[in-house]
């Protein structure tokens, strides 16, 4: 054996491996620790305001009487409408791009633009929403105008996530369906969509999680900050939790800062509930497959 051609330095190589493992562990822990600090800080500030009354009262100038009923309902309306607009549009666009679009320059142009739209700052969508939905379509400062704006914001992400889910459906399934005399739409409807649906839902709910925290575009289109009644239709004026939080946090009184913290806790709970729903739904659909 020509041992002199190698200097194995095994101890040093193993040590480097160990160092790298701990660096990666540190990176993981960093994100979690920050989240925990945030949660503890917010909860400790807001805890004394958290009560059923806080959830069922309307905003007030007096901190002890203030609540977030209109903001919670506004957020739920907003998410419901945004989901109902962006899901069919996003999945439809993804199906077109993956299954129907011919491979030409026009399809590539569409694809590139959708990817770029995903990176457009949300305030820009706010300006667009103000021009198009609030003024041109005459939706006024309604939940519908807000939901339409947020739908534009999340659409690129919904489309891209759905496309990826659709693309992951194996070719063998498509051929199996075609081989039995399925039309393209039958193949998509019965084989591709059921298999892709868990991925599509995950992408949609994650993008809604982004929309639920959006403030800037909604302020842009004129969401109100003080509303003493719940939205009753898509045309109602509205406020949402992040705007209520922003409003309280920007007031000078310390009590309002703590109210903002309490509202943040509620927002995070709604967010976690949405993500949990996404996971449950996905697991259930996977099991059916």
């Amino acid at each position: 054996m020509n041992g002199e051609h190698f200097s194995p330095r095994l101890a040093a190589r193993r040590r480097n491996g160990t160092i790298f493992k701990w660096l990666c562990f540190g990176a993981t822990i960093f994100a979690i620790v920050m989240l925990v600090i945030l949660l503890v800080d917010v909860t400790s500030d807001g805890l004394r305001w958290l009560s059923i009354d806080f959830l069922t009262r309307y905003p007030s100038r007096i901190p002890a009487r203030a609540g977030i009923k209109s903001a919670i309902l506004g957020t739920l309306w907003m998410m419901g409408l945004t989901a109902s607009i962006s899901f069919p549009l996003g999945v439809g666009a993804a199906i077109y791009l993956e299954e129907y679009a011919p491979a030409n320059w026009f399809s590539r142009l569409l694809q590139t633009n959708i990817a770029n739209l995903a990176g457009v700052p949300s305030i820009v969508y706010g300006i667009l929403g103000l021009t198009v939905f609030v003024r041109f379509f005459g939706f006024q400062r309604s939940v519908l105008a807000g939901a339409a704006t947020l739908s534009l914001l999340v659409l690129p992400v919904v489309i891209i996530a759905s496309q990826e889910a659709i693309r992951a459906v194996p070719r063998s399934l498509r051929e199996g369906a075609y081989g039995l005399g399925a039309t393209r739409w039958q193949m998509i409807r019965h084989q591709v969509l059921p298999v892709a649906m868990p991925g599509i839902l995950t992408g949609t709910i994650l993008s809604l999680s982004r929309a639920i925290g959006e403030t800037a575009p909604l302020i842009m289109i004129g969401a109100l900050t003080f509303i003493a009644f719940p939205p009753t239709s898509p045309m109602s004026p509205f406020t949402v939790l992040p705007i209520q939080i922003f409003n309280w946090a920007s007031r000078p009184q310390a009590d309002f800062h703590d109210l903002a913290a309490a509202a943040i806790v509620v927002l995070l709970v709604i967010l976690l509930a949405m993500n949990a729903t996404a996971i449950l739904l996905r697991n259930r659909l996977r099991k059916q497959l």
């Binding site: 039995l180 005399g181 399925a182 039958q186 059921p194």
Partner: protein, 250 residues
């Protein structure tokens, strides 16, 4: 009715500008088993997929020449490939059951083609025909992916039979299976032969010899020799056929 199930005339298939199948003319008789053999990449699968217009699904593929089915050219502009694929069924190399229940796998083809009889009866009949019924009759609602590879492939055959094709194309149907499962597929082919025309692509020459009545040997996209299986394997006319079946290349 003619005793020809399928006939190709000057059939060529190109991927882009590269020919994969070069001007093949041959006749496939009714209710016989025809095997296509040849080394990997010889164009046998591409040729097979031309029979039910599966190559239409590959954007770069182009077909010239004719495939006659009941006197009708399948590549005529008036022919709908969707209808072709119901009447000329296909079983693929790797078992590809849908990720649904066993029942729904068979029922899918019936539903999409507007089957008007009793669904459950037809599903049972198809599973019987594919020699799978006894193994699955108590778990029709279980997911088909829980079946063994051989059972999955017989399910795919049942699924194809359900839509009442006249011809069944099999693209190396046993290449992903163990010898016992392969044997069962081959037994099944021998039974199905009584009612269907079967075209099978295989790179297993013993399999071709065991199950087929006629064998075609393809090499780099050309039909080298086509004849009775026994004659082709014992007394080939072409030197290249002899070299291939005796294992000197391929």
């Amino acid at each position: 009715m003619s005793d020809h199930a399928l006939e190709t005339r000057d059939l060529s298939v190109f991927y882009g500008d590269t020919p994969a199948v070069k001007s093949i003319t041959l006749t496939i008789p009714s209710r016989r088993v025809v095997a296509f053999i040849g080394p990997s990449g010889c164009g046998k699968s591409t040729f097979l997929r031309a029979f039910n217009r599966m190559n239409d699904l590959i954007p770069s593929a182009r077909v010239t020449g004719e495939v006659l089915f009941r006197g009708l050219n399948l590549y005529d502009p008036t022919v709908d490939p969707v209808e072709v694929r119901r009447r000329i069924g296909m079983v693929f190399q790797k078992p590809n059951p849908f990720p649904k229940s066993i029942f729904d796998n068979v029922a899918f083809g019936l539903r999409i083609n507007g089957f008007r009889g009793k669904l459950a009866d037809k599903v049972e009949e198809s599973l019987q025909q594919a020699a799978l019924w006894d193994e699955v009759k108590d778990r029709l609602n279980d997911n088909a992916l829980g079946l063994s590879g051989g059972q999955q492939q017989r399910l795919c055959i049942a699924r194809a039979l359900a839509v009442e094709p006249e011809i069944i194309l099999m693209d190396e149907p046993a290449s992903a299976l163990d010898p016992i499962a392969t044997g069962r597929i081959e037994d099944l082919i021998r039974v199905l032969r009584e009612n269907y025309t079967i075209v099978i692509v295989t790179h297993n020459m013993q399999q071709a010899a065991r199950v087929s009545d006629l064998t075609a040997f393809l090499y780099v996209g050309e039909l080298i020799e086509y004849g009775e299986t026994e004659q082709l394997f014992t007394n080939p006319r072409e030197e290249r056929t002899e070299q291939y079946i005796t294992g000197r290349f391929g």
